[in-house]
Amino acid sequence: MRRVRWSFWIALALLAGGLVTLAWRLQPAAARHGEAISPAKPLQDFTLQSEAGPLRLSDLRGRLLLFFFAYTYCPDVCPTALSTLKASVENLGADAAAVQVILVSVDPQRDTPERLGQFVHSFHPAFIGLTGDKDTLDRITADFGVFYRINPPEAGRSDYTVDHSSNILLVDKQGRLAYSWPFDVSAKDLAADLQALMR
C-alpha cells in the first residue's frame, strides 16, 4: 500500500513537471527589449519596387522581416537604425539568413529604387530598399500603423525633411506584424531578441 502511494506521488510529480515544460515550450518566445504587438496583426500583401524589380511581401514569407520606414536624405535617425540593423544581423552569425532587413522609403519623390538600393547596400549587401507611389505607400503605412508626413520646404529652399515613425517593426514568418523596437535599441539587444523569436 505504501509502495503504491509512493509511485502515485512520483507519477504526479513527473506529470506536473511535464506540464510545466510543455507550457514553457508553448509560450511564445519572449523578446525582452522590444514590445510585442498582441495579437500579431495579419498584413495585406503588397507590391513595391526594389532596385532589382517589383517585390511582394508574400515573396518574403518564411523569414523574419525587419521593416524600417525612412528616407535616404535623413542624416541622423535613419542611418543610426540601419547601422544597428547591420550590427545585429552580423551578431546573428549563421542565423542571419533567416532575417531580412527592409527599408521602405516614405519619400517617393526623391528616393528612386536605384538610389534606395545604393543607400541600403552601403550598410549591408543583403538589405532591401523598397518604394512605391504615394497611394501604395499610404495604404501600406496605414496597415503597419506607421505615420509619415512630408514637410514643405522652407522658403527659398528645395530640400525638405520627412517626419516618420521611427520604430523597427518585425513581420513574423506568417506575415503578421508582431514586434516593435525603438530605433535606438542596441544591436546586441536586438540580436538577442531575434534569436529568442527564432526559437
Partner: protein, 163 residues
Amino acid sequence: MKTKIFCTMILIAIFVSACGGKTEAASITIENAWVRAAQMGSGMGNNMATPMAGMEGGNGANSAAYMLIKNSSSTADKLLKAESDVAMMVETHLSEMKDGVMTMHEVEGIEVPAKGQVELKPGSYHVMLMGLKRDLNAGDKVTLTLTFEKAGKVVIEAEVRNP
C-alpha cells in the same frame, strides 16, 4: 622715460588681451568628434528623382557630425554655426521624438551651459552635412569649423566612423 612707461603699458595691454582671447577659446573643448560614414556611389546625384537646387555639386548624400562640447567658463555659450568643406551645406539640427514620430529641424544655435556640456548624438542634436562632395569612408578625417557666440571659432578634426 615716458616712452618706456608707454611701451610697457602697451606690452601689458597686448599681453592681457592675448590672455583674454586664449581663455575664451580654451573655455570650449570638443571631445569624441566623429562623422558618420556615407558611401553612396558616384552616380547617386543623378538618381535623385527631383534634383535639389544648389546641391548639384554634391553627390546627394547626407551625413552628420557628433561630438561632446564642454564649457569650462562660468557663462553659458552657444554653438552658432558649423562649417566644413565636405558638404554643400552645413547646419545645426535637432532630431526629436514627438508621439512616436521622429522629426528633424534646424536649430538657431546649440546652448552649452556654463560649467557644463552638451552632447551631439544620434537622435538628438547633430551637425547635418547636406550634399556631400565626396564619400566619407571610415578612418577619413573631416575638418569642421565651429563658431561659438563667446569662444569664437574652434577648428576640429572629426574622424569618420562606421558605428
